[in-house]
Symmetry: none
DNA sequence: TATGAATGAGCTTTCATTCAT
DNA sequence: GATGAATGAAAGCTCATTCAT
């Protein structure tokens, strides 16, 4: 029986953390398929045996890492929501949130890109990302609800999805592919203009 | 010496087509990494030797298939552009194009999803998709240019990118992930409303 | 039944010759294992089907080529034997023969090297080379016999073998490996001195 | 990442040794091209995975084995050099060394033959053999130098090469091809006579 | 007689995972 | 608890040769 250990002692926690850090770095640099377990444990300075006592398998490691990552990502986006009156959303507020979104990708655009890729081919990864999407769409919907009486749109649910998708994909293009000659500021400008004008009118 | 045969005779063309058809089907069903060459040729009813006389390697097959696919996809979207006055874009025209986009995904949402996944981790796939993106963004920009004097937006280049990204990702969410409880019509409605209102005002 | 055709018509002879020429060139350049049949027929400008109607298989081609080559090689070495009195071998005669040997390798040192390699791992090639060796050793023995009364050596048979081996390997080193800083003239000098002094005394 | 393990524990050393022993045997019997990795590990009684954790690839195994082999070979030839006055080389000393040479081939004439074959078609093998040749030629040169004042030859460098080549090839013929009806003793006799008479006169 | 499409056995190598020490 | 040697299924690809046209 190879039970997966829940690290309870200091050293254990450190070991597990070391593995995750090494894997995060390698996944970002060389891709997930391009990184094998030997390499991870070598970088982490632990044995392959240790690896398998902390993680059921390679996939489990990835899922745990992704979960952690998306939590940090989410927090960065929505952290300073209390700085403005959420029921009186102004143009600059929309822009501020979008700026947060773009910054949140800077934690590790590479890791995000690599895992995002798997979203479309691996059902476990997909599930995690779907949960994340729901959370984000909810948050957008929540903001819309709070400005309900000022809205020009009727279908808040659909609008939240559309807005979320627009933002996500503009960010992906900018961060994963490089926005080419266009700089991010211009994209954020147009994007926030589009959203503001869509939900609250010009 | 691995010369890749260019099929010139009937039998050749058939064989190559059989391989591509089988691969298309398997890639869609079981994923690209989940499909091996042995399986492809078995499904196609040809030998592994034939496979490698038509394609330098598995990757070359994929790239050729993707190229074909994206051409069909692009055509479906922009095929009936002559049906309306492109310098007098109306709300229903935007909606018509969006409807085309959604339909274009129905050629094979699965194949599209599988290859789209690789876009973020494989540089060859990425190059093909980037070219496609440019083509699409250009087309959007062209439509905007043709309605220049009616536009409320200033930065056409950035707007074209933002619009393309919004549409693409809404379609991906709907087609790859399933729009959940929301039906596609509602998404298209909001999306076209957002775009129309963004570029031409309410 | 796939009988191997003996070319009797002009075109046939040409075709077969073209294949052999192409193969000779490719074997010399890229090695025998490094050359595949497709490449040979492509270079020769004939079809793979033709190839197999002139040669039972790749090996048969090689054996036929080697046979041809060794005949030319042998002729070059012993061609001007009539220029000197073979029963009155002088120092310069020995040197002249050795010079012929070195020149004979220049037909194609590469082809010689490649086939020589197989001598130690392929029994068919070995047989051909063994026959060739016997022929050469006989010829050396014949020269020795013709100078019998002047010889200091007793065991002509063994001496012929030893002489042949010495010459062969010095030539191989010079021609296959490059004699390094030592030039061939010096090697020929020492070699002929050694042989002359061995068989006929100083 | 293919890290090649350096065996540090008992079991490791045994496993690696088992692989090398099996390979040595198979290479000798069936030739190097005629032996595949599956067969080696099967004979060694280890897994294919083990093979590739000790050797980067099949070639690396061969090179390591050849290096080992040539060291043993060299040692056998020159081991008892201290038994005679090297500055007073006598006829029987030359013969003794030649006898050593012939015995050194008996470690494994087959393995020697197989690798020697590759010398002319594989540049890595060639490099190792060239290094070995240099070492041997140097040793011969060293012996000649030590008898400098007694020599009849002038060009020691060329003579060393010629002598080495003569000996090597006579040994190869005897050991790889079989000396036919001639027995080795006769060859050694003539060879040592030739060399002695060449360098020191009759 | 010539062609070249088709064949498929066979090879090397990778890597996630297990388990004896 | 930790180690790392050992495992072996599985994958991609080559190439001499056949045979229907």
């Amino acid at each position: 029986m190879t039970s997966v250990r829940a690290p309870q002692q200091k050293r254990s926690i450190q070991t597990k953390a070391r593995i995750m850090k090494a894997a995060f770095h390698l996944f970002a640099c060389k891709g997930i398929h391009g990184t094998n377990s030997k390499e991870i444990v070598k970088t982490a300075g632990v044995s392959i045996g240790s690896f398998y006592s902390y993680f059921k398998n390679k996939k489990a490691l990835l899922l745990e890492m992704l979960d952690d990552y998306l939590n940090r990502h989410y927090s960065m986006i929505w952290q300073h929501l209390d700085l403005f009156s959420i029921d009186q959303l102004r143009r600059e507020d929309v822009k501020a949130i979008l700026t947060n979104v773009f910054q949140a990708y800077d934690i590790s655009p590479e890791f995000h890109r690599q895992t995002h890729a798997l979203r479309y081919s691996d059902s476990d990864i997909r599930r995690i990302y779907d949960k994340e999407r729901e959370r984000e769409v909810s948050q957008v919907g929540y903001l819309l609800e709070n400005n309900k009486n000022r809205l020009r749109i009727k279908d808040i649910t659909a609008a939240a999805i559309v807005i979320h998708n627009a933002v996500e994909n503009v960010a992906h293009t900018a961060k994963f592919i490089g926005s080419g000659k266009i700089d991010e500021a211009r994209l954020i400008n147009e994007l926030s203009d589009m959203i503001y004008c869509f939900v609250l009118a010009d």
